[in-house]
């Protein structure tokens, strides 16, 4: 898909296949995540290309949105309605009959942990409660696909843990799929099994999180205390394929590589703190990819 706004290519020839289950959508600001979500929700039409969501073309907006539960990032609740009133109302606007909507509203409010407060007006709720109401309204019509946009924004550590627990339960339920868009990479790491990373409107990485973070078996990651760039340069001069990144120095395995690494460390007076198979945090992997993408762009 491509989506162009004037001269800005917000989504640029993006081809992505999102499997079932919990999928993380990450990228720096301006990466095209929001435009991508709007395209998925069929609130925007692509300039070129198309996509299918749960077997329905995004050009058919209504059937697509019948199957999606969307939890927006920003505050969007109707302040003068009660929690239960709002969730019921959203159920009815999604197409539930009045009886089912009210029964589902109570179910999902209980699930998210809004008990007696459900009869209070939304305007009186704390940030944490509002987030839970936003989650509940996205669940009321029991969609197949949930899109959570920064669900832990503004929450204290306890609220964040509670929200992540809820998202995890939903993501692990049969027949329910989750797309989690977040800047908080540890959140994505704990919930999602698959990840899509966007930058500049392009997909720069996609795959099983475990595989992406573990890296190839024939690569070594060296955590060096000292000048990484100089360390990598010295290894290159010694004939190795080496690359410095924010997460360390990466070297292709081969005969005598370990000995060369220690010789280089000794020569540079650097301390090797870790040497082994590449295991990165999502944050390290993300920073590495974005830096590589920037270098490519430059």
């Amino acid at each position: 898909m491509t989506k162009v706004f004037g001269e800005v290519r917000a989504v640029d020839d993006l081809t992505v296949s999102i499997p079932e289950g919990a999928v993380g959508l990450v990228g720096p600001n301006g990466a095209g995540k929001t435009t991508f979500l709007r395209l998925l929700l069929s609130l925007l039409q692509p300039t070129a290309g198309t996509a299918k969501v749960l077997g329905h073309s995004i050009e058919d907006g209504v059937p697509v949105r019948e199957r999606i539960g969307y939890m927006p990032e920003h505050d969007c609740l109707i302040p003068e309605m009660t929690g239960v009133g709002l969730v019921t109302y959203m159920g009815r606007v999604s197409g539930l009959d009045a009886k089912t909507a009210i029964s589902r509203a109570h179910d999902v409010l209980q699930f998210v942990g809004v008990e007696e407060e459900r009869y209070r007006k939304v305007a009186e709720y704390s940030t944490g409660m509002k987030q839970k109401i936003k989650l509940a309204q996205s669940m009321v019509h029991d969609p197949q696909l949930y899109i959570f946009d920064e669900p832990t924004t503004g929450l204290d550590p306890r609220g964040r843990t509670e929200m992540l627990d809820l998202v995890r339960v939903i993501a692990s339920s049969p027949g329910r799929n989750v797309i989690l868009s977040s800047h908080l990479l540890p959140d994505v790491e704990t919930i999602c099994k698959y990840i899509v990373i966007l930058d500049g409107g392009h997909q720069i990485a996609a795959g099983q999180l475990q595989q992406l973070l573990t890296g190839a078996a024939d690569r070594l990651r060296i955590d060096v205390r000292g000048d990484r760039e100089a360390f990598a340069q010295r290894l290159k001069e010694a004939g190795l394929e080496a690359e410095a990144s924010p997460s360390g120095v990466h070297v292709n395995r081969g005969p005598g590589v370990e000995a060369e690494i220690f010789r280089t460390a000794k020569a540079l007076g650097a301390e090797v703190r870790y040497m082994g198979r590449e295991i990165r945090s999502l944050e390290e992997f993300f920073l590495e990819l974005v830096a590589r993408n920037e270098r490519k762009g430059a």
């Binding site: 979500l37 959203m90 606007v93 539930l96 339960v169």
Partner: protein, 279 residues
């Protein structure tokens, strides 16, 4: 905190059609308006005052309006009652101004448009909340007046029924104009007060200066800019009234219809352009 799903296994729930979804927005919207004291007071006062003044005019016509013919043209008098203009403007300001502006302000528009409805469904629902409230002023008193007059034996049933039909037509025209313009103004801002001021500006800001200028310059064509004068021109033609400002009713009708179509179209385009997922 409970973190077990009440319905752990997903079950396909049959969803009702878009008509029912739109109806849910309308009924909830009307219920919300009828819970607001301000809206209730304005609607109650508006219906009571327009109805009472119209009926009083009919009852005491021989005293207040000696020589007035008691035929269809008589019912132009309640239709041209300026309390209608005042209360329609007031209802449009109090109720209509917030219909879209409040959703923009609270960003609830995101909730609506991420649901399985279209922008057109949303606008139809909002129009269907405001229009019935305006018809309570613009149509109801005009229909009840000939009915009461016929029941009291002051007019024949044939004239009364004809007057009711004409009143419904011109009342709906006036309702459509104020509904479209109010929703358009409401879609332009996040503050309902700005939209309300806009409604007053469209009504009185166009009508009063147009009337003053038309009098001073003795040029009645200026009156075309006033929606109220356009409405009166159409009403005069519909009720068969002779005289009044020299406005051609087809032009007046065309201006009102063009304003309705243009306001609706621009509101729709505006809704399509609103960013409902921001980031």
């Amino acid at each position: 905190m409970s973190i077990s799903l009440p319905t752990y296994t997903r079950r396909e729930m049959p969803l009702l059609g878009r008509q029912q979804r739109v109806r849910a927005i309308i009924t909830t919207g009307l219920r919300r308006e009828f819970k607001r004291i301000g809206a209730l007071v304005v609607i109650g006062m508006g219906v009571a005052i327009t109805l009472i003044t119209s009926i009083v005019l009919v009852l005491f016509a021989p005293i207040f309006l000696p020589g007035e013919q008691l035929d269809l043209s008589f019912f132009y008098i309640p239709a041209g009652n300026t309390t209608i203009l005042f209360f329609v403007t007031l209802i449009a300001s109090v109720v209509g101004s917030g219909l879209i502006a409040d959703d923009l302000n609270s960003m609830a528009l995101t909730l609506y448009l991420s649901r399985p409805i279209t922008q057109a469904d949303y606008l139809i629902a909002k129009a269907a909340i405001l229009a019935p409230l305006i018809t309570m002023i613009a149509v109801l008193p005009l229909v009840l007046t000939p009915l009461v007059a016929a029941l009291l034996g002051l007019f024949s049933w044939a004239i009364a029924v004809e007057a009711m039909g004409v009143s419904v037509l011109i009342g709906f025209l006036f309702t459509a104009f104020y509904t479209a313009v109010t929703l358009f103004l409401s879609s332009l801002t996040r503050r309902r007060s700005y939209a309300a001021a806009g409604v007053f500006a469209v009504t009185f800001g166009l009508t009063i200066p147009a009337e003053i200028l038309a009098n001073q310059l003795t040029n009645s064509t200026i009156l075309y800019v006033s929606p109220w004068e356009d409405y009166l021109a159409v009403a005069r033609a519909a009720f068969g009234v002779q005289g009044g400002p020299a406005l051609d009713w087809p032009w007046a009708l065309a201006i009102l219809l063009a304003a309705i179509v243009l306001a609706s179209f621009v509101t729709y385009i505006r809704m399509k352009a609103v960013e409902v997922v921001s980031g």
